[in-house]
Amino acid sequence: MSVLAFTLIVLGAAFVAGLLGSLTGLGGGVIITPVLTLYLGVNIRYAMGASLISVIATSSGAAVAYVREGFSNVRIGMFLEVATTFGALVGAALSGHVPTSALSLIFGVVLLHAAWQATHRHAEAGPEVAPDPLAESFQLGGHLPGLKESLTYRAHRVKQGFAIMFGAGALSGLLGIGSGSLKVIAMDRAMQLPFKVSTATSNFMIGVTAAASAGIFLNRGYVEPGIVMPVMLGVLLGSMVGARFLARLPVNHLRIIFGVVVACVAVQMVLHGLGVKV
Protein backbone atom coordinates (compact mmCIF):
# COMPACT_ATOMS: atom_id res chain seq x y z
CA MET A 1 0.00 0.00 0.00
CA SER A 2 1.28 3.49 -0.84
CA VAL A 3 1.86 6.14 1.80
CA LEU A 4 -0.89 8.24 0.20
CA ALA A 5 -3.48 5.43 0.38
CA PHE A 6 -2.43 4.62 3.95
CA THR A 7 -2.84 8.30 4.90
CA LEU A 8 -6.34 8.52 3.40
CA ILE A 9 -7.58 5.30 5.07
CA VAL A 10 -6.25 6.38 8.46
CA LEU A 11 -7.75 9.86 7.97
CA GLY A 12 -11.21 8.30 7.45
CA ALA A 13 -10.95 5.94 10.42
CA ALA A 14 -9.67 8.78 12.60
CA PHE A 15 -12.68 10.94 11.68
CA VAL A 16 -15.06 8.21 12.93
CA ALA A 17 -12.90 7.74 16.05
CA GLY A 18 -13.02 11.47 16.83
CA LEU A 19 -16.78 11.58 16.31
CA LEU A 20 -17.54 8.64 18.63
CA GLY A 21 -14.78 9.53 21.09
CA SER A 22 -16.00 13.08 21.61
CA LEU A 23 -19.65 12.02 22.12
CA THR A 24 -18.87 9.21 24.58
CA GLY A 25 -15.98 10.84 26.47
CA LEU A 26 -13.81 7.78 25.80
CA GLY A 27 -11.26 9.15 23.34
CA GLY A 28 -10.61 7.59 19.95
CA GLY A 29 -8.20 4.77 20.81
CA VAL A 30 -10.84 2.04 20.72
CA ILE A 31 -11.17 2.48 16.94
CA ILE A 32 -7.70 3.73 15.97
CA THR A 33 -5.71 0.86 17.53
CA PRO A 34 -7.50 -2.11 15.85
CA VAL A 35 -7.66 -0.34 12.46
CA LEU A 36 -3.90 0.26 12.60
CA THR A 37 -2.82 -3.12 13.97
CA LEU A 38 -5.33 -5.56 12.49
CA TYR A 39 -6.20 -3.94 9.17
CA LEU A 40 -3.04 -2.02 8.27
CA GLY A 41 -0.44 -4.24 9.96
CA VAL A 42 1.10 -1.44 12.00
CA ASN A 43 3.37 -2.39 14.90
CA ILE A 44 1.60 -2.22 18.28
CA ARG A 45 4.07 0.37 19.63
CA TYR A 46 3.33 2.81 16.79
CA ALA A 47 -0.39 2.11 17.26
CA MET A 48 -0.12 2.94 20.97
CA GLY A 49 1.60 6.23 20.15
CA ALA A 50 -1.03 7.14 17.57
CA SER A 51 -3.83 6.17 19.94
CA LEU A 52 -2.40 8.37 22.70
CA ILE A 53 -2.20 11.39 20.38
CA SER A 54 -5.75 10.67 19.18
CA VAL A 55 -7.01 10.93 22.77
CA ILE A 56 -5.35 14.33 23.26
CA ALA A 57 -6.72 15.57 19.91
CA THR A 58 -10.27 14.32 20.63
CA SER A 59 -10.22 15.86 24.08
CA SER A 60 -9.04 19.29 22.99
CA GLY A 61 -11.01 19.34 19.73
CA ALA A 62 -14.37 18.72 21.40
CA ALA A 63 -13.61 20.64 24.60
CA VAL A 64 -13.41 23.94 22.71
CA ALA A 65 -17.18 23.72 22.20
CA TYR A 66 -18.11 21.67 25.31
CA VAL A 67 -16.48 24.09 27.74
CA ARG A 68 -17.86 27.19 26.01
CA GLU A 69 -21.38 25.76 25.92
CA GLY A 70 -21.30 24.50 29.52
CA PHE A 71 -21.30 20.72 28.91
CA SER A 72 -17.81 20.16 30.34
CA ASN A 73 -17.63 21.36 33.93
CA VAL A 74 -14.15 22.84 34.43
CA ARG A 75 -14.28 22.77 38.24
CA ILE A 76 -15.51 19.18 38.47
CA GLY A 77 -12.90 18.17 35.88
CA MET A 78 -10.01 19.86 37.69
CA PHE A 79 -11.17 18.54 41.09
CA LEU A 80 -11.27 14.95 39.83
CA GLU A 81 -7.98 15.32 37.93
CA VAL A 82 -6.29 15.37 41.35
CA ALA A 83 -7.60 11.82 41.91
CA THR A 84 -6.67 10.54 38.44
CA THR A 85 -3.22 12.13 38.64
CA PHE A 86 -2.35 10.50 41.96
CA GLY A 87 -3.94 7.26 40.81
CA ALA A 88 -1.74 7.29 37.71
CA LEU A 89 1.39 7.83 39.82
CA VAL A 90 0.47 4.90 42.08
CA GLY A 91 -0.41 2.74 39.05
CA ALA A 92 2.91 3.51 37.35
CA ALA A 93 4.78 2.65 40.57
CA LEU A 94 2.90 -0.65 40.87
CA SER A 95 3.43 -1.70 37.26
CA GLY A 96 5.82 -4.59 37.11
CA HIS A 97 4.48 -5.86 40.44
CA VAL A 98 0.94 -6.54 39.27
CA PRO A 99 0.00 -9.18 36.67
CA THR A 100 -1.38 -6.85 33.97
CA SER A 101 -2.94 -9.62 31.87
CA ALA A 102 -5.11 -10.77 34.77
CA LEU A 103 -5.96 -7.15 35.51
CA SER A 104 -6.98 -6.54 31.86
CA LEU A 105 -9.21 -9.59 31.98
CA ILE A 106 -10.95 -8.49 35.19
CA PHE A 107 -11.32 -4.91 33.96
CA GLY A 108 -12.79 -6.20 30.67
CA VAL A 109 -15.42 -8.24 32.46
CA VAL A 110 -16.29 -5.31 34.77
CA LEU A 111 -16.67 -3.08 31.72
CA LEU A 112 -18.97 -5.55 29.96
CA HIS A 113 -21.29 -5.29 32.93
CA ALA A 114 -20.92 -1.49 32.95
CA ALA A 115 -21.74 -1.32 29.23
CA TRP A 116 -24.98 -3.20 29.86
CA GLN A 117 -25.85 -0.97 32.82
CA ALA A 118 -25.02 2.23 30.97
CA THR A 119 -27.72 1.65 28.36
CA HIS A 120 -30.34 1.79 31.11
CA ARG A 121 -31.42 5.01 32.72
CA HIS A 122 -31.18 5.00 36.46
CA ALA A 123 -32.98 7.05 39.06
CA GLU A 124 -31.37 10.45 39.47
CA ALA A 125 -31.28 12.06 42.87
CA GLY A 126 -33.95 14.72 43.05
CA PRO A 127 -33.72 18.06 44.81
CA GLU A 128 -35.08 16.47 48.01
CA VAL A 129 -31.79 14.60 48.56
CA ALA A 130 -29.55 16.49 50.98
CA PRO A 131 -26.55 18.04 49.17
CA ASP A 132 -23.12 16.56 49.69
CA PRO A 133 -21.15 19.05 51.83
CA LEU A 134 -18.04 18.39 49.71
CA ALA A 135 -19.96 19.38 46.57
CA GLU A 136 -20.98 22.59 48.31
CA SER A 137 -17.51 23.57 49.50
CA PHE A 138 -15.80 22.71 46.20
CA GLN A 139 -18.62 24.20 44.09
CA LEU A 140 -19.19 20.99 42.17
CA GLY A 141 -22.26 21.87 40.17
CA GLY A 142 -23.50 23.99 37.31
CA HIS A 143 -26.12 24.63 34.66
CA LEU A 144 -26.67 22.28 31.75
CA PRO A 145 -27.90 23.98 28.60
CA GLY A 146 -31.02 22.27 27.28
CA LEU A 147 -33.17 22.51 24.19
CA LYS A 148 -35.98 24.27 26.04
CA GLU A 149 -34.64 25.21 29.46
CA SER A 150 -31.38 24.82 31.31
CA LEU A 151 -31.05 22.35 34.17
CA THR A 152 -29.28 23.09 37.43
CA TYR A 153 -27.32 20.15 38.83
CA ARG A 154 -24.87 19.40 41.59
CA ALA A 155 -22.63 16.45 42.42
CA HIS A 156 -23.61 13.75 44.91
CA ARG A 157 -21.45 11.10 46.62
CA VAL A 158 -18.27 13.05 45.92
CA LYS A 159 -16.01 10.71 47.94
CA GLN A 160 -17.21 7.67 46.00
CA GLY A 161 -16.68 9.47 42.67
CA PHE A 162 -13.21 10.58 43.77
CA ALA A 163 -12.31 7.00 44.74
CA ILE A 164 -13.43 5.57 41.37
CA MET A 165 -11.43 8.32 39.64
CA PHE A 166 -8.36 7.30 41.65
CA GLY A 167 -8.94 3.73 40.41
CA ALA A 168 -9.31 5.01 36.85
CA GLY A 169 -5.97 6.81 37.18
CA ALA A 170 -4.28 3.73 38.62
CA LEU A 171 -5.57 1.59 35.74
CA SER A 172 -4.24 4.17 33.25
CA GLY A 173 -0.83 3.93 34.88
CA LEU A 174 -0.88 0.13 35.04
CA LEU A 175 -2.39 -0.72 31.65
CA GLY A 176 -1.49 2.34 29.58
CA ILE A 177 -5.11 3.02 28.69
CA GLY A 178 -7.15 6.22 28.83
CA SER A 179 -9.80 4.71 31.15
CA GLY A 180 -12.41 7.23 29.99
CA SER A 181 -15.04 4.53 30.54
CA LEU A 182 -14.44 4.51 34.32
CA LYS A 183 -14.39 8.31 34.38
CA VAL A 184 -17.85 8.50 32.80
CA ILE A 185 -19.16 5.78 35.14
CA ALA A 186 -17.81 7.64 38.21
CA MET A 187 -19.63 10.82 37.23
CA ASP A 188 -22.81 9.23 35.88
CA ARG A 189 -23.48 6.53 38.46
CA ALA A 190 -21.60 7.60 41.60
CA MET A 191 -21.87 11.38 41.42
CA GLN A 192 -25.20 11.33 39.57
CA LEU A 193 -24.29 14.13 37.19
CA PRO A 194 -26.34 14.54 34.00
CA PHE A 195 -25.10 12.05 31.38
CA LYS A 196 -24.02 14.70 28.89
CA VAL A 197 -22.05 16.49 31.63
CA SER A 198 -20.41 13.15 32.51
CA THR A 199 -19.28 12.33 28.96
CA ALA A 200 -18.24 15.91 28.12
CA THR A 201 -16.31 16.33 31.40
CA SER A 202 -14.61 12.94 30.91
CA ASN A 203 -13.71 14.10 27.41
CA PHE A 204 -12.23 17.27 28.95
CA MET A 205 -10.18 15.24 31.46
CA ILE A 206 -8.73 12.50 29.26
CA GLY A 207 -6.54 15.03 27.43
CA VAL A 208 -4.63 15.70 30.65
CA THR A 209 -4.36 11.98 31.51
CA ALA A 210 -3.01 11.22 28.03
CA ALA A 211 -0.66 14.21 27.92
CA ALA A 212 0.99 12.96 31.13
CA SER A 213 2.13 9.79 29.29
CA ALA A 214 3.06 11.63 26.08
CA GLY A 215 6.61 12.45 27.19
CA ILE A 216 7.61 8.83 27.59
CA PHE A 217 5.93 7.81 24.30
CA LEU A 218 7.70 10.59 22.39
CA ASN A 219 11.01 9.67 23.98
CA ARG A 220 10.68 5.99 23.06
CA GLY A 221 9.82 6.81 19.44
CA TYR A 222 6.25 5.45 19.58
CA VAL A 223 4.93 8.66 18.00
CA GLU A 224 5.68 8.16 14.27
CA PRO A 225 4.89 11.40 12.36
CA GLY A 226 3.76 9.54 9.20
CA ILE A 227 1.05 7.68 11.16
CA VAL A 228 0.13 10.35 13.68
CA MET A 229 -0.36 13.07 11.03
CA PRO A 230 -3.59 11.61 9.50
CA VAL A 231 -4.73 10.37 12.93
CA MET A 232 -4.49 13.82 14.44
CA LEU A 233 -6.12 15.70 11.55
CA GLY A 234 -8.96 13.16 11.17
CA VAL A 235 -9.68 12.96 14.88
CA LEU A 236 -9.73 16.74 15.27
CA LEU A 237 -12.26 17.11 12.48
CA GLY A 238 -14.39 14.25 13.83
CA SER A 239 -14.36 15.56 17.38
CA MET A 240 -15.45 19.02 16.29
CA VAL A 241 -18.36 17.54 14.32
CA GLY A 242 -19.22 15.30 17.31
CA ALA A 243 -19.22 18.29 19.65
CA ARG A 244 -21.84 19.99 17.46
CA PHE A 245 -24.04 16.89 17.66
CA LEU A 246 -24.04 16.47 21.44
CA ALA A 247 -26.50 19.28 22.23
CA ARG A 248 -29.13 17.83 19.87
CA LEU A 249 -28.58 14.13 20.56
CA PRO A 250 -31.27 12.59 22.85
CA VAL A 251 -29.72 11.24 26.05
CA ASN A 252 -31.10 7.70 25.58
CA HIS A 253 -29.47 7.51 22.12
CA LEU A 254 -26.21 8.73 23.63
CA ARG A 255 -26.45 6.04 26.33
CA ILE A 256 -26.81 3.35 23.66
CA ILE A 257 -23.82 4.68 21.67
CA PHE A 258 -21.80 4.80 24.90
CA GLY A 259 -22.82 1.24 25.85
CA VAL A 260 -21.81 -0.14 22.44
CA VAL A 261 -18.42 1.62 22.44
CA VAL A 262 -17.70 0.55 26.05
CA ALA A 263 -18.58 -3.04 25.08
CA CYS A 264 -15.94 -2.80 22.31
CA VAL A 265 -13.39 -1.50 24.85
CA ALA A 266 -14.35 -4.39 27.15
CA VAL A 267 -13.78 -6.99 24.41
CA GLN A 268 -10.40 -5.41 23.66
CA MET A 269 -9.41 -5.58 27.33
CA VAL A 270 -10.47 -9.25 27.58
CA LEU A 271 -8.44 -10.05 24.45
CA HIS A 272 -5.45 -8.16 25.90
CA GLY A 273 -5.82 -10.24 29.03
CA LEU A 274 -5.72 -13.40 26.94
CA GLY A 275 -2.57 -12.16 25.19
CA VAL A 276 -4.06 -10.95 21.88
CA LYS A 277 -2.78 -7.49 21.02
CA VAL A 278 -5.42 -5.33 19.36
Binding site: L4, F79, L89
Partner: protein, 121 residues
Protein backbone atom coordinates in the same frame (compact mmCIF):
# COMPACT_ATOMS: atom_id res chain seq x y z
CA UNK B 1 -23.43 28.20 41.53
CA UNK B 2 -21.86 29.45 38.30
CA UNK B 3 -21.79 33.15 37.65
CA UNK B 4 -19.96 35.65 35.50
CA UNK B 5 -16.55 34.60 36.82
CA UNK B 6 -17.28 30.99 35.95
CA UNK B 7 -18.23 31.91 32.40
CA UNK B 8 -15.04 33.89 32.00
CA UNK B 9 -12.98 30.86 33.02
CA UNK B 10 -14.92 28.72 30.54
CA UNK B 11 -14.27 31.22 27.75
CA UNK B 12 -10.56 31.39 28.66
CA UNK B 13 -10.18 27.58 28.69
CA UNK B 14 -12.05 27.29 25.41
CA UNK B 15 -9.92 30.04 23.86
CA UNK B 16 -6.61 28.48 24.94
CA UNK B 17 -7.61 25.10 23.52
CA UNK B 18 -8.71 26.69 20.26
CA UNK B 19 -5.44 28.63 19.86
CA UNK B 20 -3.38 25.50 20.57
CA UNK B 21 -5.38 23.48 18.08
CA UNK B 22 -5.16 26.08 15.31
CA UNK B 23 -1.38 26.37 15.75
CA UNK B 24 -0.72 22.63 15.92
CA UNK B 25 -3.07 21.60 13.09
CA UNK B 26 -1.71 24.34 10.81
CA UNK B 27 1.83 23.00 11.31
CA UNK B 28 0.75 19.38 10.85
CA UNK B 29 -1.25 20.39 7.75
CA UNK B 30 1.72 22.17 6.14
CA UNK B 31 4.07 19.36 7.12
CA UNK B 32 1.72 16.73 5.69
CA UNK B 33 1.66 18.40 2.25
CA UNK B 34 5.48 18.45 2.11
CA UNK B 35 5.63 14.88 3.46
CA UNK B 36 3.10 13.49 0.99
CA UNK B 37 4.74 15.22 -2.00
CA UNK B 38 8.01 13.54 -1.11
CA UNK B 39 6.86 10.14 0.19
CA UNK B 40 3.25 9.78 -1.06
CA UNK B 41 4.16 7.21 -3.71
CA UNK B 42 6.38 5.07 -1.52
CA UNK B 43 5.25 1.87 0.17
CA UNK B 44 3.85 2.29 3.66
CA UNK B 45 5.39 -0.28 5.97
CA UNK B 46 5.17 0.22 9.69
CA UNK B 47 5.19 -3.46 10.67
CA UNK B 48 8.51 -3.23 12.48
CA UNK B 49 9.30 -0.88 15.32
CA UNK B 50 12.55 1.00 14.88
CA UNK B 51 13.98 2.30 18.16
CA UNK B 52 15.24 5.87 17.90
CA UNK B 53 17.27 8.29 19.97
CA UNK B 54 15.77 11.56 21.24
CA UNK B 55 12.25 12.81 20.75
CA UNK B 56 12.52 15.67 18.27
CA UNK B 57 14.86 14.36 15.53
CA UNK B 58 14.52 17.51 13.40
CA UNK B 59 16.44 17.81 10.13
CA UNK B 60 16.23 19.99 7.03
CA UNK B 61 16.31 16.92 4.74
CA UNK B 62 13.17 15.64 6.43
CA UNK B 63 11.43 19.01 6.55
CA UNK B 64 7.86 17.65 6.29
CA UNK B 65 8.36 15.14 9.10
CA UNK B 66 10.08 17.76 11.26
CA UNK B 67 7.23 20.27 10.88
CA UNK B 68 4.68 17.53 11.70
CA UNK B 69 6.68 16.62 14.83
CA UNK B 70 6.66 20.22 16.07
CA UNK B 71 2.90 20.36 15.46
CA UNK B 72 2.38 17.16 17.48
CA UNK B 73 4.46 18.59 20.31
CA UNK B 74 2.27 21.72 20.33
CA UNK B 75 -0.83 19.51 20.54
CA UNK B 76 0.65 17.69 23.54
CA UNK B 77 1.44 21.01 25.24
CA UNK B 78 -2.10 22.38 24.76
CA UNK B 79 -3.60 20.63 27.85
CA UNK B 80 -0.59 21.87 29.87
CA UNK B 81 -1.29 25.46 28.80
CA UNK B 82 -4.95 24.92 29.68
CA UNK B 83 -4.17 23.76 33.24
CA UNK B 84 -1.63 26.58 33.82
CA UNK B 85 -4.00 29.28 32.60
CA UNK B 86 -6.86 28.04 34.79
CA UNK B 87 -4.42 28.29 37.71
CA UNK B 88 -3.89 31.97 36.86
CA UNK B 89 -7.64 32.51 36.44
CA UNK B 90 -8.47 30.95 39.83
CA UNK B 91 -5.71 33.05 41.42
CA UNK B 92 -7.37 36.19 40.04
CA UNK B 93 -10.65 35.06 41.60
CA UNK B 94 -8.76 34.50 44.89
CA UNK B 95 -10.17 30.96 44.96
CA UNK B 96 -7.44 29.33 47.07
CA UNK B 97 -8.85 25.81 46.94
CA UNK B 98 -8.85 25.73 43.17
CA UNK B 99 -5.45 27.44 42.91
CA UNK B 100 -4.12 24.54 45.01
CA UNK B 101 -5.94 21.98 42.85
CA UNK B 102 -4.65 23.52 39.60
CA UNK B 103 -1.13 23.73 41.08
CA UNK B 104 -1.14 20.03 42.03
CA UNK B 105 -2.42 18.92 38.62
CA UNK B 106 -0.05 21.14 36.64
CA UNK B 107 3.02 20.16 38.68
CA UNK B 108 2.30 16.45 38.28
CA UNK B 109 1.54 16.90 34.57
CA UNK B 110 4.68 18.90 33.77
CA UNK B 111 6.86 16.58 35.87
CA UNK B 112 5.58 13.47 34.11
CA UNK B 113 5.89 14.93 30.59
CA UNK B 114 9.39 16.27 31.30
CA UNK B 115 10.44 13.05 33.07
CA UNK B 116 9.20 11.03 30.09
CA UNK B 117 10.90 13.22 27.50
CA UNK B 118 14.20 13.05 29.35
CA UNK B 119 13.95 9.27 29.66
CA UNK B 120 13.70 9.26 33.43
CA UNK B 121 10.83 6.78 33.52
Amino acid sequence: MPGQDEQQIDLLVSGVLKAGLIASSTLVGIGSVLYLFKHGGQRADYSHFQPVQGFLRLSSEKLGRSIITIGILLLVLTPVARVLLTLVAFAKLKDRRYVAIAAIVSTALIASIAGGLLGMQ
